[in-house]
C-alpha cells in the first residue's frame, strides 16, 4: 500500500515537472500587446473629471457662505447687479 502510494506521489511530481506548454511567442506578439494598450484619455474629458469634485466643493462652499451671510427677514437680492453689490459688501447700507 505504502509503496503504491509513494509511486503515485512520484508520478504526481513527474506530472508537475512535465506540466509545461513549451511555447514561444510569435514575432507579432508585441504588436498584439501594443494594440491592446488603452488609448490616452481625451485631455478635456480628463480635466473635466479631475476638476468636477473640486468645482462641486467650491460651489457648495460658496452656497453655504451666501446662505450664512443672508440677512434675516428674508430680504434677498432681486437682480444680478444687486446680488453682485451685496456679495462685494454684504453688510453695506445699500444691501438688498
Amino acid at each position: 500500500m505504502s509503496e503504491r502510494s509513494d509511486r503515485r506521489l512520484e508520478l504526481a511530481r513527474e506530472a508537475l515537472r512535465d506540466h509545461h506548454a513549451r511555447l514561444e511567442p510569435d514575432p507579432e506578439f508585441a504588436a498584439r500587446v501594443l494594440a491592446r494598450l488603452p488609448t490616452a484619455p481625451d485631455p478635456l474629458r480628463w480635466a473635466a473629471l479631475r476638476l468636477l469634485p473640486a468645482g462641486l466643493t467650491l460651489a457648495l462652499l460658496l452656497g453655504l457662505m451666501v446662505w450664512r451671510e443672508l440677512p434675516a427677514g428674508g430680504a434677498v437680492p432681486v437682480s444680478v447687479d444687486e446680488l453682485a453689490a451685496w456679495m462685494v459688501d454684504p453688510g453695506g447700507e445699500d444691501g438688498p
Binding site: L16, A21, E24
Partner: protein, 187 residues
C-alpha cells in the same frame, strides 16, 4: 545600446543592460509605446515560458502573457528601480497566472505529454494528472512552482512578495491535499 543590439539580445534571450532597460521603463512611463514595445520584446520569451508552466493551451498562455504586459503597462508607476525590472515583471506574471488559474475550473487540459513519453506508466500517470487537475487552483499554483519550477519556499516568497511563513503553510497544505487525494483515489 542600439536597436540592433537589443534585437540580438532579444533573439538570444539575453538580459538588456540595466541602464538601457531603465531608460525604456522611463520612456514607457511617459507614454512612449515604442519603448514599451521594446520592453515587451525583451521579456516576452521569459513571460511566455513562465505562463506556460501554469497553462498548456496556446490561447491561455498567450492571454496570460498579454495580460501580464497590459498590467505592467498600467502599473509601471509602482516599479521601483531598486530591483531588476525582470523581477518585478515576474511578480506581475505570477500574480496574473494565479488570478487566471483561480478563475478557470479545476478540470481542464491533460495528456499530450504522455504520448511522447512511452516509458511512463501511462494509465497511472493519466489518472494522477486527472487528479492534479482537480486540485484547487491555489494548491496547483504552489505545487507547480515547487515541483515544476523547482523553486524553494524562500524563492517563491521573494518572487511573489509573500512572507516565507505564508508560503510554507500554503505549501504544506497543498502537499497534504495532494497526498490525501492520491491515497483516497487508490483502487
Amino acid at each position: 545600446m542600439s536597436i540592433s543590439t537589443v534585437a540580438a539580445a532579444r533573439s538570444l534571450d539575453l538580459p538588456a543592460a540595466p541602464d538601457f532597460e531603465l531608460r525604456l521603463v522611463e520612456a514607457s512611463r511617459s507614454g512612449d509605446r515604442d519603448a514599451f514595445g521594446d520592453l515587451v520584446r525583451l521579456h516576452q520569451r521569459r513571460v511566455f515560458r513562465l505562463a506556460g508552466r501554469f497553462f498548456r493551451a496556446h490561447e491561455e498562455v498567450e492571454e496570460a502573457a498579454q495580460e501580464t504586459f497590459l498590467t505592467a503597462w498600467s502599473k509601471l508607476d509602482t516599479y521601483r528601480a531598486e530591483a531588476p525590472f525582470e523581477h518585478w515583471l515576474t511578480r506581475v506574471c505570477l500574480n496574473t497566472c494565479y488570478q487566471r488559474l483561480r478563475k478557470t475550473r479545476s478540470t481542464e487540459e491533460l495528456p499530450e505529454a504522455l504520448a511522447a513519453r512511452p516509458e511512463v506508466d501511462s494509465d497511472a500517470r493519466l489518472e494522477v494528472e486527472r487528479l492534479l487537475a482537480t486540485l484547487p487552483a491555489k494548491d496547483r499554483f504552489l505545487l507547480l512552482m515547487l515541483h515544476g519550477e523547482e523553486w524553494s519556499v524562500a524563492e517563491i516568497a521573494e518572487k511573489l512578495g509573500w512572507s516565507k511563513a505564508n508560503v510554507k503553510v500554503r505549501a504544506h497544505r497543498a502537499r497534504a491535499r495532494l497526498r490525501k487525494l492520491l491515497e483516497e483515489s487508490m483502487p
